[in-house]
Symmetry: C3
Subunit: 203 residues, 3 copies
């Protein structure tokens, strides 16, 4: 079992928690609704990436461990429920670790399939944020990409660092850690100091 695999499973658990937590908070859904949203959040980004690239079979469809990871996330979330307000900051940190992980894994996979680095960066970012976009569409919240504090942009920045280091043949594992840390740092600083991307228009 490679470290990468363990990270993928952990990222899946984290995103299932984030999805379930958002669905429960928004409208107190039933067990099925919460699980469904957790599921879509966890597998949405990677599935969209692989469907866009035509890279079949999708990861979770050929490895049921990802389904079990989602169920574990949902159950964990239910157990923590009473104290979820206490752990709000830890959950935000988990989400940040999730997007960092999924960005570097998605970027690396796309690159390894032979696609252009620009496409790899886009796909890395998609892997990280598209599950959240689907979650927010389902529960009718403002899509995560429109969040005030820097979010998807941090993923893009990390993906670009990964691509630069990879072009210098930097060791993969080392590159994963460095690029992932950059995403986590940018995102956490953005939350702390309320950094945001400049407005586009004049309004």
């Amino acid at each position: 079992m490679s470290i990468q695999y363990i990270f993928e499973i952990l990222g899946t658990i984290v995103f299932a928690i984030s999805g379930a937590s958002a669905a429960d908070e928004k409208s107190g859904h039933d067990w099925f609704g919460v699980t469904f949203v957790g599921f879509i959040t966890a597998i949405g980004g990677g599935s969209l990436r692989d469907m866009l690239l035509g890279s079949y079979p999708l990861v979770w469809i050929n490895d049921v461990n990802f389904i079990y990871a989602i169920i574990i996330g949902i159950v964990l979330m239910r157990i923590m429920n009473a104290s979820i307000d206490k752990y709000r900051r830890e959950i935000a940190l988990f989400d940040t670790m999730g997007i960092a992980l999924f960005t570097v894994l998605g970027t690396a996979k796309t690159l390894d399939l032979g696609f252009h680095p620009v496409i790899a960066a886009i796909m890395g970012m998609f892997t990280a944020v598209m599950g959240g976009v689907l979650r927010d569409t389902l529960i009718n919240a403002t899509p995560v990409i429109f969040r005030k504090e820097i979010y998807a942009t941090a993923c893009l920045v990390g993906a670009v660092l990964f691509l630069i280091l990879d072009s210098f043949d930097v060791n993969r594992t080392f590159n994963f850690v460095l690029s992932g840390m950059l995403i986590i740092t940018v995102r956490q600083l953005a939350i702390y100091y309320h950094w945001s991307v400049p407005k586009f228009g004049k309004s």
Copy 2:
């Protein structure tokens, strides 16, 4: 022409009616809008399943009869229009038959393609409910999976029965009928007695 094929075409007509009816009720759309929503409702679930599985070509893309079935559904819906309030209960029953049908067909297809039973159950449920989820996203209604009365959960229950019976080599047609009947029974009882899945959180 197999019985399964006739059922698929019937399910398509039923879902086109359900989609068209929802679009018309929500905002009195024009012919194009109503037909578009009916179309997405009818082909959405099966298309998503096949795109996730990488099972090309999609059924309706290689067999124009499904397109004609949708048009028949839309026209039927327009003809019944005056009396649609009278037939509200019959339409709900049709929708239930549609999800029962699509669940067992989707589960069987995924299993026959060689995927894990857990994936087959998820795909069966997706086939049944994802057209409705897309419909509700388009017309900006609460997604069908968040309905109060047991809905998608009935599909999952039916898919699990199908998988159990299949593992005992029960005759396919007999299994279709039994598992489909279970879905219809659970869903109709849920409507009648207002059964719902327990809430996830404490709120």
Copy 3:
């Protein structure tokens, strides 16, 4: 570089502008949000078509020029920003040219892949309007297919003309121009005279 390729790139720029403009107007998003919506608007329709047809690799994934075209569209949009209200009619005309272009290109591609003409017409229309549907879902606006004035129906009409002329072996380029002009004419007349598709129901 074929004329068709130039048209595809131009259509991509136009749709990126239309997406960015809608996102900026709706809620004054930041640079990332506006670019993201412009991107989805530009590649959404063609990507959905190719994913439904199983036609891999997707056009923009194998040709980074489409990504650059989107960036050019976003930058152009930002430069014009001050005078965008002045050019509202020109932008609507651009959008119309975009849907005309994408309809005929999408119809032709689907036909050339060997699919049924009915599927080709649907896919041509999807290519033109689905990017806009995704854009409107993301920014929570009424989907473009529900617009009052004839929109997607004009694409269908143009696709049908293309298929009829193609069945008579009319020269491709000539057919592109004729069918595209029909879409532009129908859509512009619809805007001018407030033509709409008849309501479906009685409400």
